[in-house]
């Protein structure tokens, strides 16, 4: 669909430069697309990814503005309430739980915490992973060996167990410690990826050329190699974000995560576990759907990014 307007200027370009003002105008019209512009173009063509982006965008907006607009306080317990909770109604769109708390408010407020945990733990994992991987891959030798053995250790320890213990003892039911724990436990995957990319890219001719121009190692690492390695890293980061959102829900569900007074999707699910068999489906359904939708959306985005950032795919 974009073909005709892409082809005509380059066809005209054959007329060669300096053929007069007319040619010059046409040549200016031929825009140069950067790696990122091309990727965005390919990303938009990926239907599911676009849908995913919309859903995730909606979740983010909900996380930011939802609690302001929503009339109910998720932890407000009204004096009069229906035992077993109200089913969804106009007053309470997603129903209420057994003490009368509004489930819709829980979902909206939970978005804030879940998205925050997902985004920030992803950023921590990304930064630490890229730093460790870049140093290991570029410097090589002993440094590489030491760093990668540390990564091996991270892969070898039983992840879930450590997360549960760490969440209980260092997390203390608070948001920031939880983000740190999740972030600091999920970087090894990224550092392995980055190291592998650096190992091959450091041998690239353009890196040698950069060194021959007198560019310092630091600048080569972060200015010259990193942009080329970023595509797969971004994809891995989206997957880490999705898995950390699930992980938070899981940890909170087990009661090792955030305290009761903070509303996360995991906490909302946790409250619902005792009564699921009584047919009060809405307590679990809506927070559960929120988690599933968000994770699915992020995975779609990751999928789209994988295609968009792969320089070999030509759409």
């Amino acid at each position: 669909m974009a073909l005709p307007d892409m082809q005509s200027p380059s066809a005209l370009q054959l007329g060669g430069p300096g053929d007069g003002a007319g040619t010059e105008d046409v040549e200016v019209a031929l825009e140069s697309l950067s790696q990122w512009q091309l990727a965005w173009r390919r990303f938009k063509l990926h239907r599911l990814a676009a849908v995913g982006l919309c859903i995730f965008g909606f979740m983010v907006l909900m996380a930011i503005f939802g609690p302001i607009l929503d009339p109910y306080d998720p932890i407000f317990i009204p004096n009069a309430h229906v035992p077993g909770g109200d089913p969804p109604s106009l007053a309470h769109l997603f129903g209420t739980d057994d003490v009368g708390r509004d489930v819709f408010a829980m979902v909206v407020n939970g978005a804030r915490i879940s998205v925050t945990i997902g985004v920030f733990s992803m950023l921590i994992a990304g930064i630490v992973g890229v730093l460790v991987g870049a140093v290991a891959g570029y410097v090589g030798g002993l440094v590489d060996n030491v760093l990668m053995r540390i990564v091996d250790v991270f892969f070898a320890i039983p992840f879930l167990f450590v997360i549960l213990v760490a969440s209980r003892f260092f997390g203390q039911g608070q948001l920031i410690p939880l983000i740190l724990i999740f972030g600091l436990l999920s970087w090894p995957l990224i550092s392995r990826l980055v190291r592998a990319m650096f190992l091959s890219l450091r041998e690239a001719d353009f890196v040698e050329a950069a060194r021959a121009v007198g560019v310092s190692d630091f600048r080569i690492t972060f200015r010259h190699i990193l942009p080329s390695a970023l595509g797969p890293v971004i994809v891995a980061m989206t997957l880490i974000m999705a898995s950390n959102i699930v992980l938070e829900a899981f940890v909170s569900f087990l009661g090792f995560g955030l305290t009761e007074d903070q509303t996360s999707w995991g906490n909302a699910l946790s409250n619902a576990q005792t009564v699921l068999s009584q047919g009060n489906w809405w307590w679990a359904f809506f927070p559960g759907m929120a988690i599933a939708l968000t994770v699915l959306a992020i995975n779609f985005i990751g999928d789209g990014l994988r295609d968009a950032l792969d320089p070999r795919s030509r759409l």
């Binding site: 200016v28 690239a204 050329a209 060194r211 007198g214 560019v215 942009p227």
Partner: protein
């Protein structure tokens, strides 16, 4: 050549003395560059010629101190502008690279970073070494593109390498190398990856720019035709050593080393149609099992007694020529000159 540790005279820009670069690999030590000496005067062009694996590229990377593990420079001196490059710190070396000594690489398709515009890549070295503002560096990039003959440089400067052809990319690489007015340009097979018509254009461009800028150039190639057209002096390398050097015309017309002679006689156009092509018999020696004496001895048609056990020294034979061959020391020098008839070896033409 001056004494070790003593800088060469002022008119010599680069003097390489006894350079030794080794690669320590699992199977042993490969002496890729095994005691190379040569010098380059200001504004002069020197062609470093040899077949694959003779140590040409390693020599050039050694001058830039870009040898990486498992390779290492294990001996020698590299005098540039009164300083021994091998004694400088890495930081000082970074100041020299891309500023006073620059390199033009063989592969224009891969030696540009695919994620930056060509303008950013040219401007980078200007900003790095000249501490120029972003704007000035950008203007310099446009100016350089114009200088290397890229049409509509204002538009091209914003393009990415993948939007350009091989010849155009090599022009960009040359523009990068020249952006900081270097004193020495090292061109490592700059035309090998290009097709013949573009080769001629690029060589013409390099000659022009070298003449205009007054920079000295070290041209590394295996193509004798390229050398003949471009350089003033030539040094022929074999198995990590220089076997012959001298003024280009002299050397190509009256080769004094059997290897140079072999290279020249194996050029197809020199043989009459229908005749068998001359070849240098045998192959380049295994770097792990180099011959004890002259490295070329096993392939040399003139090999005799002293060649087997003793490596000949690189000896001056007058007229700014040097040759590493025992034949030369003989009173009845009988190296048959098949290239040009009626010339006396060793003497001026």
């Amino acid at each position: 050549m001056s004494e070790p540790g003593v800088p060469p005279p002022e008119d010599v820009l680069l003097e390489v003395r006894g350079l030794r670069t080794e690669f320590r690999v699992l199977d042993g030590i490969v002496p890729a560059v095994d005691g190379v000496d040569f010098s380059l005067r200001r504004g002069e062009t020197l062609g470093l010629v040899g077949e694959s694996g003779s140590g040409k590229s390693v020599t050039s990377l050694s001058i830039m101190r870009l040898i990486e593990r498992p390779g290492a420079i294990v001996g020698g001196e590299i005098w540039f502008e009164g300083r021994d490059l091998l004694k400088l710190s890495e930081g000082d070396m970074e100041d020299i690279r891309g500023n006073e000594i620059t390199m033009i690489f063989q592969e224009p398709m891969t030696s540009l970073n695919p994620v930056f515009t060509v303008g950013e890549q040219i401007a980078e070295s200007v900003r790095l070494h000249r501490h120029a503002s972003k704007k000035d560096a950008w203007d310099r990039a446009i100016e350089m593109l114009k200088l290397v003959g890229i049409p509509s440089p204002e538009r091209r400067v914003k393009q990415y390498p993948h939007e350009m052809s091989g010849g155009m990319r090599q022009r960009v690489v040359i523009a990068m190398a020249l952006a900081c007015d270097p004193k020495l340009i090292i061109a490592d097979e700059p035309t090998t990856a290009l097709d013949v018509t573009i080769q001629a254009q690029i060589l013409e461009l390099m000659k022009r720019i070298q003449a205009e800028s007054g920079a000295a150039m070290l041209l590394i190639t295996h193509d004798l035709a390229v050398v003949a057209e471009t350089v003033q002096r030539i040094a022929v390398m074999y198995a990590g050593k220089i076997v012959e050097s001298g003024a280009v015309e002299e050397t190509l017309l009256h080769p004094q080393h059997p290897y140079t002679e072999g290279l020249l006689t194996s050029i197809p156009s020199r043989v009459a149609r229908g005749q068998r092509l001359n070849v240098i018999k045998g192959t380049v020696p295994n770097p792990f099992r180099l011959p004890k004496g002259c490295k070329f001895e096993p392939r040399c048609p003139y090999s005799f007694e002293p060649c087997k056990d003793n490596d000949p020294p690189l000896e001056s034979i007058g007229n700014d020529r040097k040759v590493r061959c025992w034949l030369h020391g003989l009173p009845e020098h009988a190296l048959p000159v098949t290239v040009a008839a009626g010339t006396t070896p060793g003497g001026a033409s």
